[in-house]
């Protein structure tokens, strides 16, 4: 008998196990615009309407939720009482407060100084045969490719607290279709979970493991 070496698609090869910790819980935007109730491991309601969901866990009380039928990615940061939402229809990251969160943020939980990213690049491994270099040539921009010289595009990158940050950006697919990516990173462990949202091919959860490129190469 030999081991099967079947592989997933390039982007979600290293995807971590799905997380069902939210099942049975409900959280609400503090401005009452949304209530997310996770009824079963597969189904939730958004303002009372049922929809499928999947989840990855970045850290305790930090969950990335994919709502594929709505083409939405949602990050629930219970540690700091905020949510972040990216919708394919409105490609701009929304954020707001959460009620009923189990906040664990502390005074020492100072946010990352993301301006330090400028001039550096991260190599992310997403599967055994796929990696990408994310370079940060200037504030609010990045490039995604195997080359540090690739053209830069807009990046919405915000600190969350501790070593965590959120990134939202557009990533064209090879077929010419656009996709949106919501990505949450631990920039000390250099580990990330993300969700790519597309119009035609659904949502794709992924995990990434990184390392900053040294200036000496």
């Amino acid at each position: 008998m030999t081991v099967k070496k079947a592989r997933f698609g390039a982007m979600d090869g290293y995807r971590e196990p799905l997380c069902y910790e939210l099942t049975g819980r409900a959280v609400r935007a503090s401005d009452n615009t949304a209530t997310w109730a996770f009824q079963t491991d597969e189904m939730m309601t958004v303002n009372g309407e049922a929809t499928p969901w999947q989840c990855l866990k970045l850290a305790n009380e930090m969950h990335l939720v994919s709502l594929p039928e709505r083409r939405v990615a949602l990050f629930l940061d219970g540690a700091h009482g905020r949510f972040y939402r990216l919708s394919y229809e409105e490609p701009r990251m929304e954020t707001g407060g959460l009620t009923d969160s189990r906040g664990v943020g502390t005074a020492e939980d100072a946010p990352l100084r993301l301006e330090r990213l400028v001039g550096h690049a991260l190599r992310w491994r997403l599967s055994c045969d796929f990696e990408v270099i994310q370079a940060f040539p200037a504030a609010g921009t990045h490039s995604l490719s195997g080359s540090l010289q690739a053209p830069a595009s807009p990046l919405d990158c915000r600190p969350l607290g501790g070593d965590h940050c959120v990134m939202a950006f557009q990533a064209p697919l090879s077929q010419g279709e656009n996709s949106l990516v919501l990505m949450f990173c631990d920039l000390c462990a250099l580990r990330a979970v993300g969700c790519r949202v597309t119009a035609a091919h659904g949502n794709h959860l992924f995990s990434a493991y990184g390392g900053f490129l040294r200036e000496d190469g």
């Binding site: 081991v3 090869g13 997380c19 866990k57 070593d163 990184g210 490129l213």
Partner: protein
């Protein structure tokens, strides 16, 4: 990448002011709290019945055939449905200390329990002894299946390079059903290495004179399609240097995604038992390492404990 190992090379990070987790912990994902409030009963051939009640995210009530007690636990997921639950039993190095590593599926009935012990053999107090037991979930004492997970040769002849940090990779080689090897490294020392890094580097150079390559006792279990468990105990290394070796690494390998989550277990330099969650992404390698040309097993196990070659 695994061939060159640089002792004391810091993980470059221009953004975070904290030290990186490093080691085998860098890329391990967080524990799960999904089991809180749940209950499960098991029967393991050769071990007996156990019952677990996860009272909260930290504690589990463990009932055996003759006693029950509440212990702290840690749980991680190996895939969407499979849990690894670690329960540490016993407090001191003087008395035997046991770590239970329970692997079960939230859907399928079969389960595996690995019982690992320190201090069982007082002539080798820092060497882990480990035994897998195969079993099933039960309901009202009735086993849910007669089928069992079991030993496998599926990994023999393969090798995986694990990427532990941006700086470190390790090649696990599976030469037989009872041994595991590491790919050969060339050791280097970083220019700004600390004294501890330098000592570790010099010890590895010295150890390599008597223990030229890493080959240790292992067992391999097939849990289900594309999910394997393997355990490696540093018995040869322990005979060479009891203060530096003797631990167990247990890996739950998702062979489809080529990543693992697992744990180490062993004695700290302060003589306390300790386990840690570890993990890494990896890739199967088609390129044989030079040590694979050496017949396996290489080291004898019936010789003088002081002479491993």
């Amino acid at each position: 990448m695994y061939k060159d190992r640089v002792f004391g090379l810091k993980i470059f990070n221009p953004v975070s002011d904290k030290d990186a987790p490093g080691g085998l912990h860098q890329y391990a994902y967080p524990a799960t709290e999904e089991l809180t409030g749940r209950h499960a009963d098991f029967f393991f051939d050769g071990y007996g019945e156990i019952s677990l009640q996860w009272t909260d995210a930290r504690n589990v009530l463990l009932r055996g055939e003759n006693k029950q007690s509440t212990y702290p636990y840690t749980a991680v997921k190996a895939d969407d449905d499979t849990y690894l639950v670690l329960i540490s039993i016993g407090e001191t190095a003087q008395a035997p200390h046991t770590l239970l590593s329970l692997v079960f599926d939230r859907v399928e009935p079969m389960a595996t329990l690995v019982v690992s012990t320190l201090g069982k053999d007082q002539s080798m107090p820092k060497l882990v002894h480990s035994t897998p037991y195969f079993g099933t979930k039960t309901i009202n004492g009735h086993p849910l299946t007669d089928q069992r997970q079991g030993y496998t040769d599926a990994l023999v002849g393969t090798r995986i390079e694990w990427f532990y940090t941006p700086n470190d990779a390790v090649l696990h080689i599976f030469p037989s059903t009872t041994r595991q090897r590491l790919g050969r490294n060339n050791y280097h020392l970083a220019p700004d290495a600390t004294r501890a890094d330098r000592d570790n580097y010099l010890r590895r150079i010295e150890d390599a004179k008597r223990y030229p390559f890493y080959e240790e006792l292992a067992f391999y279990v097939r849990l289900k399609d594309n999910l394997y468990l393997y355990s490696v105990i540093e018995y040869n290394g322990y005979r060479l240097n009891p203060s530096a070796y003797g631990s167990e690494l247990m890996v739950l390998l998702d062979a489809k995604r080529v990543r693992y989550i697992g744990r180490t277990y062993g004695m700290t330099p302060e003589d306390a038992s300790r386990f840690d969650i570890v993990g890494a992404p990896g890739r199967f390698s088609d390129t044989a390492d030079e040590i694979e040309s050496i017949p396996c097993p290489y080291y004898r196990f019936d010789d003088d404990p002081q002479d491993i070659i």
